[in-house]
Amino acid sequence: MTTTDPLSLTFSALADPTRRAMLARLVLGEASVVELAQPFQMSARAVSKHVRVLERAGLVVRSRDQQRRPSRLQAAPLREVDAWLADYRQLWTQRMDRIDDLLTKIQASDAS
């Protein structure tokens, strides 16, 4: 892969289900390669390769700890997560209302 555009790197890193599962695990806290490998039938070497892809995309960072070298999410500050989730919750509340309107409309047209 020759691309260095951060968006493309992020999306190609996210396109793989194993890497998404690893990120989901890292949402819970940092983990070593051995810990990340546990849910998968995969060698530590294969896991390290996935971690490197995630690292290059700027999605995870690895600590300098020589023994475990745990990975953690390169997360934005918590206030940004909170700001997004508050907006996203509001968005879903509006969608739930629109679904209600749509169900009413569909059932009215079926009845007529």
Binding site: A76, W92, L102, Q107
Partner: protein, 135 residues
């Protein structure tokens, strides 16, 4: 409703519930048929010119939303679990500018559809993470 609440050490997220006065298969269809999803997805005042949903495990979905001001935003992801009329688990990824820099977001969403005496109860659990930011 055991097991559907969020727990203290869950990743950041939220839970929403809503009751609908409609048959459960119709509620599920409104969540999974692109013709219907295109009518309610997006933000207030937006339209969804592209809506492709491959509703099966590992199936991809992609929705392009056009806001009232004409800007286009793409949302895409993968279905992880599909139990018709009962359960929908999917992953969502998108990129947006929040508080200045661009961020990549991912969210895991679980939607449950249960028949109750007051109608069909939809429970939506969302866990989210910001995966990176750049200028």
């Amino acid at each position: 409703m055991n097991g559907l609440q969020r727990r203290a050490n869950d990743p950041p997220g939220f839970a929403l519930t809503r009751r609908y006065d409609a048959p459960r298969n119709l509620v599920f269809q409104v969540w999974t048929d692109p013709r219907f999803v295109a009518e309610w997805w997006g933000v207030e005042g937006a339209t969804n010119p592209e809506c492709e949903l491959d509703v099966r495990p590992d199936g991809r979905w992609r929705i392009v939303m056009r806001t009232a001001s004409g800007r286009l935003y793409a949302n895409s992801g993968t279905y992880l679990e599909v139990v018709p009329d009962r359960r929908l688990v999917y992953w969502l990824g998108f990129v947006a500018a929040v508080l200045g820099p661009m961020h990549a977001f991912q969210a895991f969403s679980l939607a449950f559809f249960a028949i109750t005496s007051g109608g069909v109860l939809v429970t939506l659990l969302v866990s989210g993470a910001i995966l990176g930011a750049w200028r």
